[in-house]
Symmetry: C2
Subunit: 125 residues, 2 copies
């Protein structure tokens, strides 16, 4: 199945601007065109975009995604791609730890606030 830029935008959540920008900046390989020169995205293009979006949304910078993405059609790059993903996994684990730490601090603060409100209520019953 093939998709227009509009459909692709809706399927991925990326704006049309962003889809064109990604192609111009070689974050994704060149997309096929129809007779009018319009972009035609394949199912595989969508899948690739979706995967890239996954790593994008978890903080991989565009420059690295570009590196990763440019290896797409070369099977000999599989070890390098695997390595990049392993490193990104590490970064995700660090982010999870960051979120947990922050959660603890926030919970403590919320408790202090609630404790304060409680005391106020007791003093003015």
């Amino acid at each position: 199945m093939n998709y227009s830029i509009n459909e692709t935008s809706q399927l991925t959540g990326l704006s049309k601007y962003t889809l064109r920008y990604y192609e111009k900046e070689k974050v994704i390989p060149e997309v096929k065109r129809d007779s009018r020169g319009y972009r035609v995205y394949t199912e595989q293009d969508i899948e690739w975009l979706t995967f890239l979006l996954n790593i994008r949304q978890t903080g991989m910078p565009i420059s690295k995604i570009k590196q990763f993405s440019q290896m797409r059609f070369k099977t000999e790059t599989i070890p390098a791609r695997r390595q990049m993903l392993l490193e990104h996994k590490e970064s995700i684990i660090k982010q999870e730890e960051r979120l947990k730490k922050s959660m603890v601090a926030i919970d403590a603060k919320i408790k202090r606030y609630e404790h304060y409100v409680q005391l106020q209520a007791e003093q003015n019953p």
Copy 2:
């Protein structure tokens, strides 16, 4: 205990530029000065900065941190502050979910890569 901008920078990990920028932009309240006009950070300032950094590093935008921080010395703002933190907690939970989803996709991709490498090795033993 009091701290110079240099010490504060080291304690918090924020650059001196950033510390001045936060103050100029009212992300933190005005810091006391010594006789020469140099900034003097108190223990409480450090604690506040550390907390702000916690919410900053988990994605709260500077504009919101500014709102939050400007309520610091008004006890009647405690319910509003609590509410902001509850909302930020929600955002952290969403981020955790995002990370988990991404992790699953990455793990699947890594497995596919390893499976591919495995097959290659079997064909050329």
